[in-house]
Symmetry: C2
């Protein structure tokens, strides 16, 4: 079907491989979250709030790797459906601290179990050493990409 012998260096590109891995992860997460009626961004938002209660819209956006406008529309839907609460007025500045409701916490529980199974599956074929290597290498890539190439 493909692999027709041409020296395809997409197969030797770390960027392409990273995109492939990310795509596979996203697909696997969507697959297990779909039965729960939850998208990946939806889940990310709830998980962030469970681990750091009181995060603002902008902080949630950065944590979920979307724009604050995108997170805003998601939060409005989550608030309307009773998964999170935000004060009507900001305690300080314009920042509205968001918190999970009991309903949000319950909804998250099932999702966490589902997502953890994906994480476990992803780590399945890796040794302890490979896992810590993976962390170190991914962090190195992130750092290099963020701070431009004038770091040295």
């Amino acid at each position: 079907m493909s692999q027709n012998g041409v020296g395809v260096d997409l197969e030797t590109s770390l960027g392409y491989l990273l995109k492939e891995a990310s795509s596979a992860l996203r697909a696997a997460m969507e697959e297990v979250l779909r039965p729960l009626g939850m998208s990946v961004t939806h889940y990310s938002c709830l998980e962030l709030l469970a681990q750091r209660p009181g995060l603002s819209n902008s902080e949630l956006a950065r944590g979920a790797f979307v724009t604050r406008q995108t997170m805003n529309v998601l939060l409005q839907a989550l608030e309307r459906d009773g998964y999170v609460t935000r004060p009507a007025e900001a305690p300080v500045g314009k920042v509205l601290p968001t918190r999970l409701t009991p309903r949000g916490r319950r909804s998250l529980e099932k999702a966490t179990v589902a997502v953890r199974s994906v994480e476990v599956r992803m780590l399945a074929g890796m040794t302890e050493t490979e896992q810590s290597d993976a962390f170190r290498i991914l962090r190195s890539m992130i750092h290099s990409l963020r701070d431009g190439n004038d770091g040295a």
Copy 2:
């Protein structure tokens, strides 16, 4: 601003780190492709065609990690603007082999240089060993995620 001391295990999740790395890579690529008026999917399509001339719509979609419907609208735009050509009738079956035009090839050249700089930047802080480790580990993750957990 954050990091308020709560034991945040998102920081210990390989899935989260993978998403973070992928997001950083995408942002870096968009940054260098924007001046050329080219999106990441747009570039991926042209690069795939340069390395494997004659790929079909569906094959390009799989290679760029989008649906074949999404790739179809992109190909129609690229064809309209003279970057690629497809025969009016399928030589065999329904498959329409796509090829770059000279204009498409020219457009790709600049983009390739730009994207290569991102790839180089990403590999900057890594040793040879770490690079080959990165390949092996990412492939392992992809394999585990794809084939379900009943591989063993």
